[in-house]
Symmetry: C2
Subunit: 270 residues, 2 copies
């Protein structure tokens, strides 16, 4: 089972921490060097990880754009991400159309987690620009990063503004599919609550802390502990369940039936 | 007594909240409208406030650059700030050189608070670019904003990296003057601690909360309360004391003797 996840956002938004937290890995080593200088190029970086989730072996590829938003002009980074997605489509198309029928390796990008800084009032021009350029090539899931800087009231407000902005700019983010009408009420209620929570406001951490004798992942502040797995503190668990437990097959399906189809249609019509 | 303070940084970094908190004013109305769209132009905005501090009447002008960092290219915003500072120098020079001796209004910018997002690993290209363009025109004080997203360890790390970056790029930020050698030990120790704290990592808030029966300004989270005036939580008090109680005369003096002198020298040599 292969899955490719692209993570995009400025340096320092906690992307590597979140990836490590999501997949309980140390795919990204802790950046503790005193002189860490984030890269400033539009270069794409790839990391592969084999994990086992609910008995299923998963070969996960994480595509990172470390230089995003760091240069004084953001066009290069946006183009670099879009080109990468297109290249995977081209490679897949070439394999699919080849005379020799062999096992095709699916390196297409199935999902793009787009990190928005928690401090923003709403979507910034760079956020709109990026998503409009890539929303017809890949499933985009916007993430509000470092949500522990937001009070409950601010979280609701920023989610509202981002959703309004997504609507007014006609950005097509990944839509959670509708429930089958024959699902039970509990399931429908849960699905409704999940959708009401978008975009997810996430806190990530790999630090294990002991609170009241219980071990948990979180961030230790002078004034309290933020718990990654506490739904009141972070939408992390919702994101993890959606991405890994429930919606991974749908993300792959939409990539095949919608985004790849868009690509093929454009290619053939040229 | 006149003082002009310029605040620069991206929208959403808590600049207006901090100004209101510093001067116990509501110079900036709370932006609670559901559809707040931050401005995206390089326009400069000015607000004036008369406050009384320790018996001294102060006419404070706050110069804000609301569109900073929002456009896809940051050069316009940087130039807009530099032009503003130069315009005030030109106006002052014109008044100073006029035949008619009248009371000159000093609108020169005495201090620029530059807000760095707390989520950055270290100075970004836009931060370096801005400070290098303006450090010989105005006293620059970099501020790490929304410091409540940083743990104690992260705060120390980011201050270290910013200071290293300031040194390696040869950015001339405002230097707190040395203590007179005849000051008492207590004073020298306090001065030493203040300098070790730079750049200040600040949390601002105008919300009054009641904690253990005591009223204080802070931010209420599910996991605890961040107190603006608590030195363990925020360098706010240090910044306020330096800016308003102790170093305002020096900031004006350095503007007159160094920055304005630079300007006059360049003007005369042309
Ligand atoms: N406040 C806060 N800080 C976080 C969070 N996640 C990670 N960090 C911290 O942010 C810094 C940068 O994280 P990193 O994962 O390296 O960011 P990246 O550059 O986007 O990959 C580190 O000091 C992390 O400990 C979070 O959810 N909230
Ligand atoms: N976490 C955190 N949030 C803050 C802080 N100061 C202000 N805010 C919040 O950040 C948001 C934007 O603040 P604002 O002052 O309007 O930012 P400005 O656009 O830079 O003027 C508001 O929701 C504030 O309540 C702070 O120190 N820490």
């Amino acid at each position: 089972f292969e899955f490719t996840l692209m993570v995009v956002g400025e340096s320092g938004l906690g992307k590597s921490t979140l990836i490590n937290t999501l997949f309980l890995s140390d795919l990204y080593k802790e950046r503790n060097e005193a002189s860490y200088e984030p890269p400033q190029t539009a270069q794409i970086e790839k990391k592969t990880l084999c994990i086992e989730e609910q008995g299923v072996k998963l070969r996960l590829t994480v595509v990172d754009t470390p230089g995003f938003g760091s240069s004084l002009s953001s066009d290069d980074c946006i183009r670099s991400c879009c080109d990468y997605v297109d290249e995977q489509f081209r490679a897949y198309f070439a394999e699919e159309s080849s005379i020799i029928r062999k096992n095709i390796v699916d390196n297409r990008v199935h999902c793009c987690l787009y990190f928005i800084p928690g401090h923003c009032h709403s979507l910034r021009p760079i956020d709109v620009e990026f998503m409009l350029n890539i929303h017809e090539k890949v499933n985009v899931i916007p993430i509000i990063s470092k949500a522990d800087m937001l009070t409950e009231k601010e979280k609701i407000q920023i989610k509202q503004r981002i959703n309004d902005s997504i609507k007014s700019h006609e950005i097509k983010i990944y839509q959670l599919p509708d429930c089958d009408s024959d699902e039970d009420e509990d399931f429908k209620q849960q699905d409704k609550e999940l959708k009401a929570c978008l975009p997810f406001a996430v806190v990530g951490s790999n630090t294990i802390l002991e609170v009241n004798g219980k071990k948990m992942r979180g961030r230790q502040y002078d004034w309290g502990v933020v718990e990654v797995d506490n739904p009141a503190h972070s939408d992390f668990t919702k994101l993890r369940n959606m991405l890994i437990s429930t919606h991974m097959p749908d993300l792959k399906e939409v990539t095949e039936d919608v985004h790849y189809e868009n690509f093929r249609t454009q290619l053939i019509s040229k």
